[in-house]
Structure formats: C-alpha cells, structure tokens
C-alpha cells in the first residue's frame, strides 16, 4: 500500500515537472533578452577558459608525446633537470655497459650522452628572437629514439659541423632550410636534414656530440638517455648503479621525468587560465542568477497559480534548475566550438618551445562541467524563490 502511494506521488512529481518544463520552454522566445544573457555569458566563459587551458594542454601533450616506460634519463644526483646536470664521459660509458640496458643487433648499447648549448633563431612571421637548444648527441640517438625520422635531407655526420633541424624549428624559424649555414662560435654549420619526433626534440637542433663539445669547449655531458631491455629492467639497472660508488647519478624513468619537466611550463599557464576562468565564471554566474530571477519573476503569477492548484515545491525547483541548465548548455557548446575553430592546432612558441594548442576531449568535458555548475548555482536561488511564491502576493504584484 505504502509503496503504491509513494509510487503515485513520484509519478505525479514527474508529471508536474514535465508540465512545468514544457510551459517554461514554450515561452522562452518571449524572454529572448534573458536567454541571450545566459547563453552568451556562458559561451564567453567556456570559450576563454578552454582556449587558455589549451595552451597548457598543448605544452603537456608535446612533452609527453612518445614518452616511454622503457626509456630512462640519467642525471647528476640532485639535478633539477638537464640544465644543471653534468656527467663525465666515463660515467656515461660505465652506465651504458650495465645490465638492463638494451643492446642492438650488433651488441652495441642503446645509450648516449647528450650536451646542449643555446642557439638563437628568428621567427618567420615577426622576426622575433627566441633561444632554443642545440643538442649534441651520440651515435645511439636514433636507436634510443625510434620515433625519430628524417623528413628531408640526411643525418649529420660525426666529426663534421653539420646539424639537423626539428619540425617546429624549420617550419617556424628562418634560416633552417637544408643547405643553410648557421654561424656558431665563429664557424659555419650546415643544415643537412630535417627531422620529426612528434615530441620534445621537435623544438631543437641536433648535431654530433663530440663535435659540439670540442667546438664549444665543453668537457662533460649534461645527461645520458638509454633504452631498457624492458620497463621491468629498471630495478636491475638501478641496483647496478647503486653498487658503483663512483657514480653520483640519478635514474629518472622518462614518463615521470617528462611530466615533471612539463609542470614548470604548463603549471604557470594552467594557473593563469584557471584564475581568469574562475573570475569570469563568477561574473557570468551572477549574470545567470540575474536572468533566472528575471525569468522566474516574469512568470510569478503563473507559478503561484500552479502552486495553488496543487503543484509541489519539488517539481517547481527542479523545473527552474533544469531550465537554467538547458540555457547554459548551448552556451557551453558555442564556447567549445569557438575555441576549437579559433585556436585548435595553432602554434604558440613561448620560452623557446613550440607547441600546438590542443582542445582535448578532457578540456571539452571540463568546459561543459564548468558551465553546468554555473547553471546550477545560478538557478538555485531563483528556483527557491519560485517555489515559495504565494498566490495572494503574486497575483497582487505585476
């Protein structure tokens, strides 16, 4: 009996809810102003939030792309990154010989030492100057980075002043065409090839490590990078490194290492994005509250009458909230579309790194969630007011 009664109440509630919703939606076109305020306000917030977050997402995607669980970066103990790390040639050779390091078909270890120097380039569009890295890498580079491939030209030859340019260098910067000369430390270096890795190295130049080190008078490598037999071989290598007291190094698996490196860049971008997004959302939520109040107020008599003839408070609150959500959704979609059309795939190049702005599905979901919470927050107070509308006062007022 009790079940039947509660079931009947629930049915009544649902019926009332849909009746109310239909009523309010059918009169939307008469309140175009209030509707526009909410839709456009939401679209602006979501559009700006997603566009700005796509910078951080792009930076992360670029750095994390192709990161592998079976690749390890070797740094000096306590170094924050490759910049403040230094490894002797002996250390690099010793580590390459250790168990756990993968060997190629000829039995050579897949490990190389790398060093880098800063090089300046000018952008094609506005001639703006940016500093980026020229990496001197060992012969095993291509074995350790199977994602590397030449898109044009050929590989640099050891012992010669030759270099190859990554995708975002030759696409965005001047003077990195094949055959071009780059002047470094009083010498002409020739660009002999173009390459792409799809990730971290695309923003840099590559050359032969011993040549770079002799030309620039550098005695030590910055870091070493190596390929493990498998991700599980890490512990074996770690134990071998620990057992050698002359090595003061740290092994950093690539995935967490790259994530950490990307945090420096995308962390700042994300903070600014969320800050601006939150402030804008606060403003737009106030706008939504205002327009929902306006919508509820203009239907005050109607709602009060319905309440008087037996409509429950629950369905009224639900209907107003649903209406608010239905208003912010098209706004969110508009914002997402605008961000995608305007910014997805655009290349930005701050701080010497280049990456594509990426509007990921995750960001789209975030934008929609952001909009929904704005709608719910914005609709709450007006919904409560509507549910309390008393028929006598409402009918007396306009």
């Amino acid at each position: 009996m009790g079940d039947e009664a509660s079931c009947a109440t629930r049915m009544k509630t649902i019926k009332q809810f849909f009746a109310l919703l239909e009523l309010s939606l059918s009169s939307l076109k008469d309140r175009l102003g209030s509707v526009l305020v909410t839709v456009i306000g939401t679209a602006c917030v979501v559009g700006v939030l997603i566009s700005m977050l796509s910078m951080g997402a792009g930076a992360r995607a670029m750095i994390m792309h192709n990161a592998r669980a079976d690749r390890v970066w070797v740094l000096k103990h306590g170094a924050h990154g490759t910049g403040d790390s230094s490894l002797s040639r002996e250390a690099v050779l010793a580590i390459a010989d250790m168990p756990g390091v993968r060997k190629d078909v000829d039995g050579r270890a897949m490990a190389y030492g790398a060093t880098f120097v800063g090089v300046e380039g000018r952008k094609k569009i506005d001639n703006a100057r940016t500093t980026f890295a020229l990496f001197g890498v060992g012969a095993a580079y291509t074995a350790v980075h199977p994602e590397f491939h030449l898109t044009a030209g050929r590989m640099f030859r050891p012992g010669l002043r030759e270099l190859i340019a990554g995708k975002s260098r030759y696409e965005l910067f001047k003077n990195f065409e094949i055959g071009d000369h780059v002047r470094l430390r009083g010498n002409e270096w020739t660009v002999v090839g173009h390459f792409e890795t799809g990730g971290f190295f695309d923003g840099s130049l590559l050359a032969d490590a011993p040549t770079v080190m002799s030309v620039f008078g550098i005695a030590t490598f910055n870091n070493a990078t190596l390929m493990l037999q498998s991700a599980a071989a890490f512990d074996e290598l770690q134990a071998a490194v620990k057992a050698n007291p002359s090595l003061d190094v740290e092994l950093r698996p690539e995935i967490p290492f790259m994530r950490e490196q990307s945090k420096n860049l995308s962390g700042v971008l994300d903070f600014v994005s969320y800050f601006v997004g939150a402030v804008m959302a606060a403003g737009a939520t106030l706008g939504a509250v205002n327009s929902m109040y306006a919508i509820v107020d203009s239907r005050r008599r109607e709602i009060a009458t319905l309440r008087a003839i037996g409509f429950g408070a629950g369905p009224v609150i639900l209907a107003v909230l649903t209406e608010a959500v239905l208003l912010v959704l098209p706004g969110a979609i508009l914002g997402v579309l605008a961000a995608r059309l305007l910014f997805n795939g655009n290349i930005v190049s701050p701080i010497g790194m280049s990456f594509r702005l990426t509007v990921t599905p995750h960001l789209v979901a975030l934008g929609v969630a952001w909009a929904l919470s704005m709608g719910l927050l914005g609709g709450l107070l007006p919904a409560l007011r509507a549910s309390r509308a008393s028929v006598t006062t409402a009918l007396r007022a306009y």
Binding site: G47, G186, G283
Partner: protein, 380 residues
C-alpha cells in the same frame, strides 16, 4: 541635480537585481584592471629601462660565455663611459627550494657608478678587500635574518676548483636598488673570486654592461663593439638594454593578444547582461514612466533619466572593481617584479564603463522615450 532622487530610486527599485548587476560589472572591471594593468605595467617597465645602456653578450645566444679579456677593448671604444662585468653563480641556501643568485661584479671604486644600484663607499671598500665578500639586499637580510659579519653557505652545481659544490661568502655590507633590476633576491659578490675559484668557464663572463655617453649614439657604439670581435671565435652581439627587456617580455607569449581576447569576451557578455537588465527594468516600470510623461516629462528627459541611471551604476561598479584590482596588484608583486598598475589603466577603465553604459542603455532609453502613455498604462 533635482533628478538625482529619481535616478537613485530607479537604480534601487529592485535591490537584489541592482546588487547582482553591480557585482557583475565590478568583477569584469576587476579582471580588466588586473590583465590590462599587467600589460601596461610591463610596457611601463620597458619604458623606464635606461636608454643609455648596452649589453654585450655572445652572438650565439644570451648566456653563452664570452672572454673576460674583451673588457679592456670595449672600454676603449669611443662613446663608452664605463664597462661592468657580470657573471652569475646560482646556488641554494640551506634547502634546494631557497635559490639565491650571486651576481658577480668587478669591485672597482668606479663601480659606484653602476646604474640602478646604491652602495656605500665603506661597503664597497669592504667588498674590494674581502675576496669572499658579499653584499646583501634588505629583502634577503630580512628573509633569512642575515647580518653584516655573518656567513652565507651556498650549494651550487657550479663546482669549485677543489671539486666541491659548496661555496661560502662573508657578508660585508648591503646594497639598495634605486631602479628595478631584479636583484632584490640576489647577493653581490666579487667576480675576481668567482673567476679564480670555479673550475669551468675560466676567464669568461656572461655579459658586459656598457654605459654610454649619449643615448643617441647607442647603435653606433653597439656596431663598433661588435666589429671589434667580428670573425673571432666568440663574436658578440651588443644591444640596448631596453630592446632586450622588450624581447624578454615578448617571449612570455603574446600577452597583448590574450589580454585583448579575454577583455573583449568579458565586455561582450557584460553588454548583454546590462542591456537585458535595463530592458527588463524598463518593461516593469513602463506604467511609472507613463505617469511621469503624463505629468509633463518630455521624451528626451525620460531618455536621459534612463541613460544616466545605467551610467551611474556602471561607473560606480567599475570604480569599485578597479579599486579592488589596485589593492590586489601589490600582492602579486612577487611574481610581477617591479610592475605596478598605472593610473592610465584606471582612466581607460572608466571610459570603458561609460561606453558600456551608453551602449547597453541606448535601446531601453530609446524605448522609454517612445513610450505611449495610453498604451503603457493600459497594457497591464
């Protein structure tokens, strides 16, 4: 003036709505103040950068060391007033997160003329006579309770000749910035000592700071310096400090574009909000306005009353928002360095508020003006 009560009561007709719209406009202008203020603040820093200073660094990239021996040759270039050596030792104090930059200079009595820094004669003498001496800023002295006579141990990735990564400096005095140089969290040490003690990069400097006699001769002097070292192993690039500051901020990304897009989006949304509110309020009040008209208010007067109402609201809220922004700005000083919110930004903000109010109220005011008394009173 006599319309003031009328306008006032018009604004507060529905207090809830007035407060909501007020907050909305306030938030928009807060954001505007912060973003535009940041952008203008950067422009200001660039404009305030001294125009008579050149930086000589490696042609290959900033940060690549160049020979210390260039010092004498640069000094001999006509138009050069003084040359200062600049090297850096970056280390951490006590724990890795407390990074300290030691700015290594040539402690010469002439160094008193170093642009933007104030050091007393006795402190400079002490630095000249103490190999491991260091001058500290008031900020760092407060932060780590350092006192003259104390020692600063620094752990650095730059190694000493002995292979040790641990450095130690004796505090012999203090310095003060008279211009923003970003040395607030730095100490000043002697380059002679750094050069002797470090294992790498012997007899090189990061860059030279060149003070010139005449800002108009800047590019001629720069060219003369670069010509000196053309085709050598370490070619130089000499450029005005101001230009370097500019390109440094440029590398932060296209701030202009971000600021313009965000502010644009915010105001676009706001336009609709304020406009819709004024429209709604007009609809509710048409009988009242009709009564005013019946009492003899001219059409144009009604038009103005509605317009001014929106003006008062928007400008008041904008001033509040800009005020909040200028209060928040100093809190961000840590991240923004010497940037402060220029007054021009507040002025632009108020103008924007006026424009916003006029555009969003134009339509409601027009409708109010065209209101027919009979229709409005009969329409309820």
């Amino acid at each position: 003036m006599k319309y003031l009560p009328l306008i006032w009561s018009g604004i507060w007709r529905k207090p809830g709505r007035a407060i909501l719209i007020l907050l909305q406009v306030l938030i928009a202008f807060l954001l505007f103040g912060l973003l535009q203020g940041f952008k203008s603040g950067i422009d200001q820093v660039i404009a305030q950068t001294r125009a008579d200073i050149l930086i000589v660094h490696s042609r290959q990239s900033f940060g690549q060391p160049i020979p210390l021996a260039y010092f004498v040759r640069i000094q001999a270039v006509p138009g050069v007033k003084a040359v200062f050596v600049q090297n850096f030792l970056v280390g951490s104090y006590q724990k890795p997160t407390q990074q300290i930059v030691a700015d290594a200079i040539d402690p010469d009595p002439k160094w008193m003329g170093y642009p933007g820094l104030a050091v007393s004669k006795t402190d400079l003498d002490a630095l000249i006579h103490t190999r491991t001496g260091a001058l500290i800023s008031a900020t760092l002295a407060r932060k780590y309770s350092w006192k003259v006579g104390g020692r600063i141990p620094l752990h650095s990735t730059i190694l000493q000749q002995s292979g040790s990564p641990d450095w130690s400096f004796d505090i012999v005095g203090t310095f003060r910035e008279t211009e923003h140089l970003g040395l607030d969290e730095a100490i000043i040490i002697s380059n002679d000592y750094l050069n002797e003690a470090r294992v790498d990069k012997k007899n090189t400097v990061q860059h030279f700071i060149v003070l010139t006699n005449d800002p108009k001769q800047l590019s001629a002097v720069a060219q003369a310096v670069d010509d000196l070292f053309a085709n050598s192993l370490d070619e130089t690039r000499t450029e005005p400090l101001r230009e370097m500051a500019q390109s440094q901020f440029q590398s932060l990304g296209d701030i202009n574009f971000v600021v313009r897009s965000v502010v644009g989006a915010v105001f676009f949304a706001l336009l609709f909000s304020v406009g819709a509110m004024m429209m709604q309020s007009l609809r509710e009040r048409s009988p009242e306005l009709a009564v005013l008209k019946a009492l003899g208010f001219s059409d144009i007067r009604i038009f103005w009353v509605i317009l001014v109402e929106s003006l008062v609201l928007c400008v008041f809220a904008a001033i509040l928002g800009l005020g909040c922004a200028s209060v928040i700005f100093p809190l961000a000083k840590r991240y923004l360095g010497g940037i402060s919110m220029p007054y021009a930004v507040a002025a632009i903000g108020v103008v924007l508020a006026v424009v916003l109010a006029l555009i969003s109220a134009a339509m409601p005011a027009w409708r109010g003006m065209r209101l027919q008394v009979v229709e409005a009173l009969g329409g309820r």
